[in-house]
Structures are given as C-alpha cells and as structure tokens.
Amino acid sequence: MKMIKLMRALREGALNFYRDMWLTVATVTVMVLTLFLIGTTLLLGFGISETITSIEKRINISIYFNHDTEEETITQIKEDLEDRNLKEIQKIVYISRDEALDRMKEFSENDPDMQKALSLLDENPLRDALVITASETGDYEKINKFFGQEYAADIAETSYDKSRDTISVLRDQMIFVRNITLGLSLLFIVIAVLVTFNTIRMSIYVHRKEYEVMRLVGASNLYVRIPVVAEGVLYGLVSGLLTILLLLMGLAALQPTLAGLFPESNNILLVYRNSIAMILLIIVSTGIFLGLSGSYIAIRRYLER
C-alpha cells in the first residue's frame, strides 16, 4: 500500500472516531468502566503485595546469646555467616546489650513507669543479640533451627519461639488474600475482555453497510480494515487515559481513609511508588490491545471472503 493511502486510511479512522461522537462516547464509556474494574483490582492487588512486602521487612528474629559469650565470638559468628552467604538470610545486625538498653530507654521516654523500672536496675539484664532478617517469611523456622544446631552452646534463647505463631498466621493470611485478589483479577479481566469485544463488535456492526460500499467502490480489505483498527486503537488509548485519570482521582479522594491503613506513609500514592508506573502502563496497553484486537477480529466478517 502506498504511503499516501496509508496516511489516508489512518486519517479516516481518526475522523470516524470524531464524527461518530455518540458511538465513540458509548464505546469509550464501556471500555472505561471495564478498564476501571481492572485498574481497581490491580491497585488492590499491588497494594496488598506492597503491604505484605513492607510487613515482611519488619519481621525479624533475634538470637540472644549467653551473658558469658564474648562480643568477639558473636561478631565472629556474624562474619562467618556473612561469608557463607546463605540464601535464606538477608541481613544480620549485631546489637550489643548496652545498645539494647539505650534503645529501650529511648523507646520508653514517654513512659514514666518504665523509666522508673529501668532506673532501678543496677545491672543490665539484657543480652547481646544478632537480629536476623530472612529473605522470605518461610525461612525463619529453618534459620532458627540452624542456630540451634550450630551455635547451641552460646545461645540463650531466640525470639522465634515466642513469635512463631504470629509469623505463620500472618503469612498464611497474606497468601490467602493474595490468592483471592489474583483470582478476582483474572475473573474481572475475562469479563472486561468479553464486554469490550462485544461493544466494539456492535460499533462495527452499525457501520456494516459502509464496509460493503467501500468494497464496491474498489477498496481493498486492508484499506477497509486500517481505519477500523485505527479507530479501535483510539478507543483503547482514550479509554485508558480516562481510566487513569479516574483512578488517580479516586485514590486522591480515598486518601484520608486509606492513609490510616499505612501509617508510615502519609501519601497513599507512596504505597504504589514501586508499581504505579507499571499499573498505568498495564491499563493503557490493555485498552489499546483490546481496541486493536477487538476491531481486527470484528471487521473480518465484513471483508471480502
């Protein structure tokens, strides 16, 4: 196809998008609704994922050493572990008993009772500790066991036994929520695809007589198809952008309510700082993909066979 004809066909698509305003409005409305549904599910899914990650980052276990274990022994253990580069262990922090006491005092600054109790101590009762962050929540049990076997002689206790139940319950619940969201997203996406395809099919059906006319005056299949597909892509693009606008406005409106859930971030968008670009990209490209494939498939039956 000559360049000039390609340009004409593309302009034709843009012109139809603009001239069939009511049809465009109807199609774009349906597409925005379905993309909005997909977007909401995505935001929910990613929100949960980010929350899980941030919770998981806060989980750790402390390995408490016997009072008579030398600080050098402990730092030696830390270095050994770091050298061994175990995949289950993400981070090891050494906190000496003095440091631990200082922190405790700091934390209880606004708690007179606690301060009083601390001031009565004539000896630091706390233990030196290694605080371990695991790569995955499921690794804590393994890590705990590992320390029990390798360094039993030096270890007084670990925090794992106390927090084991909390960790595993939290973990199970997070996985459950994640799976539910994933299932819902898939369901919504299937519905959205079907609805959008049908809407585009209808908008093409409205023009079916024109495709016949175009063929009669000598237009090739390609020349009939390009404007239709270009119009479909425009539907998708505009719907995608409108959906993004709606979602961002929705997030801004919900911000005061949602902010309470994520105390560490005063801006809800910060929760999505890692994923927002991807979410927006997914919405726009889903829109364009739906418009493109929907119109490409729907126009087929009206072309020369």
């Binding site: 000039i4 004809k5 012109l15 024109e210 175009m214 009669l216 005056v217 237009a219 090739s220 299949n221």
Partner: protein, 232 residues
C-alpha cells in the same frame, strides 16, 4: 471482441434457489444496455456476476477475455475498479460529506490530493451538486444523493457503469436527470448497463434492451423499446 461475455451461465444460491438459467449475453465496449424485468427476476444477480460479487454456478462470465471465476480474491478490489456502481439506495457513506464521498473513490485509487481537489468539484459541477459539496447525505434530497452516487461511480472513469434500479426511489424529474446523466456518461465511451423495471425509461432511451423472465433471457435486441417485447 465482447467486453462482457456470459456463456451458458446458471446461478444457484446456496439455498438451492435457481435465479439465472442458461444465460448467453455479449456486451461490447461502449454499449448502453437496458436490462428489464419484474423485481426478483434475477437482474441484480446478473449484475453481481459482472462485477464479481457473485460467481456463476455453471458456465462462465468473461470480462475482457478473462474468466472471472479464476480471479483471485486478492485482486478483486483492483478488478472492481473497472466498474462504477449505482444502486436504488445511493449507498453513500453517511458520515462523509458529498465531496468526501466522491473523493473516496479517488483516494482508494491512490490519486494525489491535488488531483482530487481538481477533479471532484468538476464532476460535482457536471451532476449539478456544486452548491452541496459540504452537505452530508442526510441533508440532501433522494435525487441529489443519487446524483452524488453517480458522480462517485464515474469519477475514476470506469470502463463499465452498472446501475441497478437507480431511479427506483425518485420522482419523474429526478429520474430524467439521472437517465440523462447516464446517457452522457455513455457518450464519453463508458459502457452502461441499466437494470430497471421502469418501462417508460426504456422506451425513451431506445437502445439495446434485454428482457429477463424467470431467470432466462426472453428478448435481446438493439434500438428497441419495451413496448415491442409485449407484442412478442
């Protein structure tokens, strides 16, 4: 050599309905042929066989010596550019202006924008629509729409103009407008095939008349009138 040649053509639709039986017609370049018969007699099917919208069940249709059943789907659009078509309903594209409708044919043919800007107003002037270029089909009368349709059909100078009941919806004045335009197109060398059930027109034109009845050709004569056929 004949431009269009029907050799023992029979057409049956998938439903089993046989619309044309054993048709043998030859049409030369530059002829004006009136195809007459009641509605449902197979006139439209015969025309569709010519511009390859349908294929013959038996026999063969030749255009310029080429067997149409052998034309590849891919080149059909190019084959159709030999034709201009006018129908009872003008079949204009509703969301395009009269100007754009006529220009569309030339756009498909890959003509330059300058050429389109020059030729479209000229042909619209010929059919008397200069003042209505920017109107949409919904904003003009039936006769005007039909003239626009005719302008679109001939702007690329087709070898054959196929008109299927082009005056079916028009009042007498608009009808004669169209008929005169068809004659004018024919004067410039374009073969015109006019399917109609309006016997008055046929008698006035006084050119070759082919009568179809129950899917068969019952009359085929040059410089004829329809009135003649009723005396057969």
């Amino acid at each position: 050599m004949a431009l269009i040649d029907f050799q023992n053509v029979t057409k049956r639709y998938k439903t089993g309905e046989q619309v044309l039986t054993d048709i043998n017609i030859s049409i030369a370049q530059g002829e004006f042929v009136s195809l007459v018969g009641a509605s449902g007699v197979g006139k439209s099917t015969l025309l569709k066989l010519i511009y390859a919208e349908e294929k013959a069940t038996e026999g063969a249709v030749f255009f310029d010596g080429r067997d149409l059943s052998l034309i590849k789907r891919r080149v059909l659009p190019h084959y159709r550019r030999n034709f201009g078509t006018v129908f009872q309903d003008a079949k204009l594209l509703e969301n395009k202006t009269i100007y754009e409708n006529v220009a569309y044919t030339l756009e498909i043919h890959g003509k330059s924008t300058a050429q389109i800007r020059e030729e479209v107003p000229r042909i619209l002037d010929v059919v008397g629509l200069s003042g209505k270029m920017d109107k949409y089909p919904g904003e003009v009368s039936g006769g005007e729409a039909q003239r626009a349709s005719l302008a679109r059909a001939v702007i690329h100078r087709p070898r054959v103009l196929v008109a299927d009941e082009p005056t079916g919806n028009l009042d007498p004045e608009a009808t004669w407008n169209i008929v005169n335009l068809l004659l004018k197109v024919n004067e410039f060398g374009t073969t015109v095939i006019l399917a109609t059930h309006d016997t008055q027109i046929v008698d006035q034109i006084h050119r070759r008349v082919i009568v179809l009845k129950d899917g068969r050709v019952t009359f085929d004569q040059n410089s004829a009138t329809y009135t003649q056929t009723t005396h057969l």
